[in-house]
Structure formats: C-alpha cells, structure tokens
Symmetry: C2
Subunit: 214 residues, 2 copies
DNA sequence: GCCGTCCTGGTTGTGCACAACTTTCGTCCC
DNA sequence: GGGACGAAAGTTGTGCACAACCAGGACGGC
C-alpha cells in the first residue's frame, strides 16, 4: 500500500473513531488547521479524510463556517436500524464462515471483557467494546460486500445510540450486552452461525426498542 | 446547496455514469488535467470527485502512474449479487411506498422504452434504460438507507455486467428485460409491492446465472 | 546480444497562498 | 435606545507550483 493511501486510511479511521466514540459529539466544529497540525500533515491530506467522512454523512462542511459533526433524527435512525436488522440476519446466510478455534477464543475473550465491563460500567469502555464486537460479528460472514455495507451503516448511527446511553440505565445496558455475547458464545460453540445471526438481530432490535422510548 | 457541493455532485455523478456506461471501460486511464479542463475547473475539485470514486472502488489512483478504472473479479461479483438479491426483496418489506398514479405512469413509460429497445437493440441504450429502471425500483421503497446501500452496490458492479453483454445474446437480453418490466407493471397495477420486489429479485438472480456461464 | 543504469516525460500527491464566504462585534446614524 | 451598516476575524474552497514517483527508452559496459 502506498504511503499516501496508508496515511489517508489512518486519518479517516482515527477521525471516524473519535466521532463514533463521542470524543467529538454531534455539533462539534472540527478545525482543519488544528487537526492537520495534530497529525503532522498539511491541510490537503486531512481534507481528503474529512471529504470522505462528509460523503458518508458523518460530518458536513460549510464554506466560511466550519466542519460540523452531524446529528441524526429519529426517522432516519429507525430506517437504518430496520435495515441493520436484516443485514445482521444475513450474516448467517451469505457465505458464513465456520467457527474455528480462533473464533471461539475471540468470543471467549469478548465475554471476559463483558464481565469486566459489568463489574465496572463505563460509557467509553462500553462504546469501544461494542465497536470491536460489531466488527467481530461481521467477520463471521465471508461476504465482503455485506461487511462493507453493514460497517458503513453501523458507523452512520453508532454515535446516536451512544449519545442516548446516559438516559438509559448504563448498568442494565452492560448486563444485556454481556448476555448477548454469552448467548452468541453458546451458539458458536454449537457451530450454529444461523443462530448467532438471529441472536444478533434480536438484540439490535431490542436495543432500538429501548432507545426509541424517548 | 452550496456552489462547491453542487459542482462536486455534478462531477461525481457524471464520471460515475461514464464509468458504468462503459464510456470509460475497466483499465482506462483518466487524466486529471484533461478532465479538469473539460469540466472547466482546476484539478482540485476534480480530485475531490475522483477521491470519492476511489473510496467507492470504481477507480484506483496510483502515484506516478495514473487513475485507472477498476475491474471486478468473478468472486466479488458473486458476493455482491448475492447481497443485491436480498436487498431487492427487502424493497418490498422495508417501508414500501404504495403505488400511485404517477408510479403507474412511470412503469408504463418504462415498458414503452423497453419496446423501443427490443425493436432496435443497442448496448448503450440498454445500459441507460437499465440504470434508470434500477433507480425506479429503488424509489418503491421509502427507506433511505436501503436506497443508498443498494445504489452503491449497483454502481459497484453494473459495468461488469454490461461488459459481458456482447458475449451474450443482446436481442434476447433486451427481450428478457422487457418481460421483467411488463411483469412489474402487472404487479404494480395490482398494488402488490411485495410481488414487484420478488420479480426484481428473480430477474437479478437469473441475470447473474446467465452472466456466470463464462 | 544482454543486462544494468540513467535520463526523460508524464502522472499523482503535497503544501502554500489567496479567494470566497459567514459570523460577530463595534460603530454610526436616526 | 434601536437598527443598519461595515469592518474584521476566522473558516472552508480553489488554483498553482513543486515534490515524489513510476514506466519506458536510450545508452553504455560487458
């Protein structure tokens, strides 16, 4: 991979993480100059990364004003979740990858991290674990297109869900999350990827239900 | 919409069309300078559009070499089609929009254009009609996220399918396409969006079957 | 004849200076 | 005192010059 490409990817991924982990909550104004100097580049490559984030709807740049982190209204959130449900289930159908020993080790590790989270609930840790676990869920399918699409949708709305966490019961959310990972571990041990996908679907659905009580 | 945004969109859409209509077949080298002068801008805004095309996988820029239109191997094509099948069917489930009189006029017009195409088969006209019809199919769902995702996948692979057309029977492909639109018209007249989505799914599936005989 | 080297033309990537634009705040007129 | 106007500061968008890089060919040594 070329130097330029790798730098672009680094900037893009880092900024995307900061946005979705609420280091930059919706409405934050990102300064091109400040970010460029932080990352040790000029504005040009940084603008390339911001442009991609804008194309994907995570920020919006307005001439003379600034680059602002976007918010998402409930209507769009509902549509995106409706689609994510279906995609989650599809991970069990579209070229599923048989669970290997490595897969089982991974899910075991996730469960361990879940226990640690329940013992000491923290929104930031929750968000990071959730993001990692999402990526793990996608890795169960061998369909690249499905992975790309699902990842895109996840990052499109993850920050909104996280923003609502303080208004929910953090401890309870952590417990539910741990439960999901435990159920998934059971399914994977039984080598039932279909079941694992359904579990994922069910929990995304319930998560949105709890979210939309506001 | 700002001046810059509208220009960006114009460049992006125009280049994407040219790529997917095979005005620029896979492997073509796009010159930033030439395109910039054609569109009457400097390289900077043009590079913004090319960068987006690269992020979406339609071109690849290599330092010192050029910007090349990508090709797609059969494996990726299969995965993308597998996903497109599911998404096509979902347009019948995820906030389907009831067929109005305007909808019926539209599909009637498509059938008319289909008849004209069958009378005088032409790859370029075929491609244009197919692209318009694809957009029409998406408009039957009110789910923005689904539309975005499906459109992205369509443009990702449309040129590959079109590239294979000369190796198939053009007249037969046109006839099949017309048939699909006629069947869809019947479904829409019956206000059965579920059926319309299944017809779309079936034809995408069969289209890929014919395609992958090579 | 063959291989390695260097040079040259052409392309994308980067940095910088400036243009275009928006917001805010101060000032002046009424 | 209120409102309109304008200047100023700060931001993103654009154009340009140059750096970095790659492919191909000429050239010379062997």
């Amino acid at each position: 991979m070329s130097e330029a490409t790798s730098r672009h990817l680094r900037l893009y991924v880092e900024l995307r993480s900061r946005i979705c982990l609420l280091d930059y909550p919706p409405g934050t104004r990102l300064s091109e100059e400040a970010l460029a100097s932080e990352f040790g580049t000029s504005r040009t490559p940084l603008r390339r990364a911001l442009a991609r984030l804008e194309d994907e709807g995570l920020v919006v740049s307005r001439h003379g004003v600034g680059t602002l982190v976007t918010d998402v209204e409930i209507g769009e959130l509902a549509q995106t979740y409706a689609l994510r449900l279906e995609l989650a289930q599809l991970t069990g159908h579209l070229s599923p990858r048989p669970a290997t020993a490595a897969t089982l080790d991974e899910i075991k590790d996730f469960v361990a991290r879940g226990h640690a989270l329940v013992a000491c609930p923290d929104p930031r840790v929750f968000a990071g674990l959730n993001m990692d676990y999402h990526r793990f869920g996608l890795s169960l399918s061998g369909n690249d297109a499905l992975r790309d699409v699902a990842e895109r949708l996840y990052f499109r709305t993850a920050r909104i869900w996280l923003k609502a966490i303080p208004r929910l019961d953090l401890a309870e959310e952590c417990a539910i999350f741990l439960e999901e990972m435990q159920q998934t571990e059971t399914a994977l041990r039984a080598h039932d990827l279909h079941a694992a996908a359904l579990i994922r679907r069910a929990h995304i659905s319930m998560s949105f239900q709890r979210l939309s009580t506001f």
